[in-house]
């Protein structure tokens, strides 16, 4: 499973005219109103760590966010995360096999999986970090997702993105 490819753009494509039924409008607290396609809404059976009761998120791609995507809680419009394909910043990042854990989201076919990392964005953009220890894995076919916790010691919850930092290859 690789992290390549990254979600559809939300409402960006000239979707079949008149087929608004598949769009969910979200008046987000952080970046205004966006339209998410039903296809871009994913279900986290266990939520994210610390947010166990929030299960439905929309993956929002906006041109101004460059390589980043927003993981916007559908029921909590003030809650959203910044995610991206970790390989963009850490080309050697690899997930160790976690097949058993991935059963939670019915992920048995690697091709159905997409990996994303959560990014922490503090006031100073040079200090942005990626959480490589607890990535999010999507089952794109089933629209399910989960936050994995890796025990690979080389990955931590906060890797600097814009400074030279050797990220060792995973096991």
């Amino acid at each position: 499973m690789d992290g390549a490819g990254c979600f559809h753009s939300a409402g960006g494509e000239p979707a079949a005219a008149g087929r608004d039924a598949g769009l969910v409008k979200l008046a987000t607290a952080r970046f205004g109103e966006v339209a998410a396609r039903e296809d871009d809404i994913v279900f986290f059976p266990r939520g994210l760590l610390g947010f166990p009761d929030i299960a439905r998120y929309a993956v929002i791609a906006r041109p101004e966010d460059g390589p980043f995507r927003r993981l916007q809680a559908v029921e909590r419009l003030d809650l959203s995360f910044v995610i991206a394909d970790p390989l963009i910043f850490f080309p050697r990042y690899r997930l160790p096999a976690a097949a058993e854990q991935l059963r939670l989201i019915d992920l048995t076919v690697p091709a159905d999986g997409i990996v994303a990392a959560l990014f922490t964005v503090p006031r100073d953009p040079r200090l942005i970090t990626a959480n490589l220890q607890a990535p999010i894995v999507f089952n794109t076919r089933a629209h399910l997702a989960m936050q994995l916790i890796l025990s690979a010691p080389e990955y931590t919850a906060a890797h600097r993105v814009f400074t030279k930092e050797e990220v060792p290859q995973g096991a």
Binding site: R30, F31, L48, L49, G50, F51, E64, D65, G66, P67, F68, L79, S80, F81, V82, I88, E100, Q101, R103, L118, F119, T120, V121, P122, R123, D124, P125, R126, I128, N131, Q133, A134, Q147, I149, S151, A157, A158, V161, F162
Partner: protein, 82 residues
């Protein structure tokens, strides 16, 4: 035992320290509490992205990657000859 398939054993007792072993099927993730807490804290921080900083970061990214992943589309087809 915890449930049918999680087994907790005392590996060692030394003074006031007890070492526990946990045997569980691999579908049951077992992590130390510190790891959970650290990730929970990081998630809480990640839930508060600084929007102007993110804008800056997109700029930084674009400056540092003159040729984004679009290069596949522009790769000449006759590359094989080299």
């Amino acid at each position: 035992m915890i449930g049918d398939d999680v087994e907790v054993t005392v590996l060692d007792i030394r003074g006031d320290k007890v070492r526990l072993g946990i045997r569980a099927p691999s579908k049951v993730p077992v992590h130390r509490k510190e790891v959970y807490l650290a990730i929970r804290e990081e998630n809480a921080r990640a839930a508060q992205p600084h929007e102007p900083a993110l804008k800056e970061a997109v700029k930084l990214y674009k400056e540092n990657t003159p040729r984004p992943p679009a290069r596949d589309a522009t790769a000449p087809e006759n590359d094989a000859g080299r």
